[in-house]
């Protein structure tokens, strides 16, 4: 019998992954949304369910309006995704430990095969970025050929959310390890950041002051973390600009 104290989390790779999003240059083009869906085997749900708040997007672009015609303005596009909170509200409420904090990546993990579908995490997420598999959404053949083998295909009754493309993190770490080196900043990035034509999304190690993401954060200075007042310690920083 293994005793709990003998179980060790992998402490070899530590890192605090984070993201900065420049809303001033985000054009709302949805390339990140599409890239995310393609990378992470996200189901499409069809017109009716999509219109009823059941779309499975892991990232959505929010925009509001200011003023009234003719002085009307669109607020800066705000890509909203899992903030990978350091102190996440979704984690403690799951009765099954299906959403947990990873020590290794400082990320918020969703363990699909442990999820029983109470949906408490989604309810308790102040950012409302969790997507639930309300049905077994179909991918008629041969659409399933597109499925990314590195990402679990989720079925009905399971919660899911942005993972910061953890499969890419692991792939890069494995590769670096096999080459006996550290992961180099910019060696890989998330699907959304990779696609973004405006480079509005920058991803990397926020605990490394020399990483691009840290440099961008320093250059902008006045970043905003959403709903920080709740004590969630989000890992995504926004720049409103303008």
């Amino acid at each position: 019998m293994i005793r709990p104290e003998e179980i060790k989390m992998s402490a070899e790779e530590t890192g605090k992954w984070g993201m900065v999003i420049d809303q001033d240059i985000c054009t709302g083009c949805q390339a990140c949304v599409a890239a995310c869906a393609m990378e992470n085997n996200i189901s499409f749900v069809g017109e009716v369910d999509a219109g009823y708040g059941r779309s499975m997007h892991w990232i959505r672009i929010e925009r509001f309006w200011e003023g009234a015609y003719p002085e009307v303005k669109m607020t800066p596009n705000q890509p909203m995704l899992c903030q990978q909170c350091g102190h996440a509200t979704c984690e403690p409420v799951c009765p099954a430990f299906a959403t947990v904090h990873s020590q290794a990546e400082q990320l918020n993990l969703q363990v699909y095969n442990r999820c029983v579908g109470t949906r408490y995490c989604a309810n308790n997420c102040p950012y409302q970025v969790r997507a639930f598999n309300w049905r077994d959404y179909q991918r008629p053949e041969p659409l399933s050929n597109q499925l990314n083998p590195d990402v679990t295909v989720r079925r009905m009754g399971v919660m899911e959310k942005c993972t910061f493309c953890i499969q890419r993190i692991h792939k890069a770490q494995d590769k670096a390890k096999s080459e006996g080196r550290e992961v180099v900043d910019g060696e890989f990035t998330t699907a959304c950041a990779q696609a973004c034509p405006a480079n509005a999304i920058v991803f990397g190690r926020v605990d490394d002051p020399e990483s691009l993401v840290s440099q961008v954060a320093r250059a902008h200075g006045h970043g905003v973390k959403h709903l920080e007042e709740l004590g969630t310690l989000p890992n995504v920083t926004y720049f409103k600009g303008g």
Binding site: F64, A96, R119, F132, G157
Partner: protein, 475 residues
Amino acid sequence: MSDKKQHAAQSHEEHLREKHLMLDPLPRGKMNDMVMESMLEKPTWKFWVIFGFLAFVVVYFLFYKWGVLIAKGQGEAGVMRPDYWGIFLVNTVFWIGISHAGTFISAILRVFRAEFRRPFTRAAELMTTFGLVQAGFSIFMHMGRVWLAYWLMPYPNQRLLWPNLHSPLTWDLLAITTYLLSSTMYLFLPLIPDVAMARDRSTGWRKNLYKVLSLGFRGTEGEWTHLRNAMNIFAWAIIPVMFSVHTIVSWDFAAATRPGWSSTIFGPYFIVGALHSGMGAAAVVLAVIRSTMKNMKYFVRGEHFDAIGKLMLIISMSWAYFFFNDYMVQWYGGDKWTQQLLHFHEAGPMGWMWFAMLICNVAIPWAILWNPKWRATPWAITIVGLVINVGMWFERYIIIPISVTINRMPFTWRLYEPGIEVPMGIGTVALFILLYMAASKLIPLIPVWEVQEGQMAHELKKFGRETVVSVSELE
């Protein structure tokens, strides 16, 4: 003159006897026969029609639709972002609330020796158990992968995976399970003497059934002592369990990070709310038993409705207090999302429900229950009881799907439109009634020994010309 006075005194005494069951004793054998008769009465065709209809509703709306839900997923229900929780949880809280009054009436009143409780403790305890069955069903309906529900149980396993004890849902599960087990035991203990009585008066399969259920109870002094001790222990012990259960149910909400939910007053507010709906339901059950079963007009009288009515009134006032308190604290907090939510409650598209809740839970009970005459009228109490239950269901609906419409991400706000939850919820109601109907034919719904015990203790004594009720201490 003296004749007249004597007549008046006599009629006063008669009046007292007529009014109070405890002062209107019948011979033991007769009373036992009455209860047996009401239980063994051959069901009428009406009974079977209703029974058959409810059975159909249960099979189709509850079980068939549940099968559909499991096969096709939660998308069949009205849940979505941001209303991840819907009517299934409304029903869960509602049924737990209903189950509360059973134990409350039985245990608290037993502990405090409220004599009016005696004829209806059994009916109330059944309400606890049957209500919890519905609550359990409702929470399992809610789960996305209900076939894995056992993962929430702390069972030893190879992977050393335990439920998360940080989660209010885990507390909830443990609390409800404890409550279900203890309330079932608590239902069973006082049932033993009555089942023994039934065993001695029945034949065939019933006799065998009661033989098993009565555990060989013969009514010896020793057996009674043990039974009384056990009942006492359970009556005392189940009270904190009952309080904890609904407090913990409230923590599912209060411990969450959501506007409108993070409220420290939710614990007592939920308990009072549960009692509110539970008392209402108890009154309805009692009225139904009285009007549909034989000999029940003897056991269930105006005085019982009067007493329940008083309780309902007090509970309604407490509920109003807690509601107001909760509202004020949330409003005073000044959080912009909470402000938005409170405004949405009243003025949003479901504002009618908010006002209906206040009318059902406060205005109507207060308007009717202050009057002793109306209080003692079974049909009036039945209506008030039903109205309160509608109001309390609305309250839970407002707390769950309507409140989660408003969150800190206005881009996601969306109004909940129920789907398969509605027939399935109706299915739970049908099952609840069905279980009662079955119970009425299988076990004595009136705890005869408890009534007899009370009657033995009560006496009308004459001090001079005054007729005075005296109660002797038992035990």
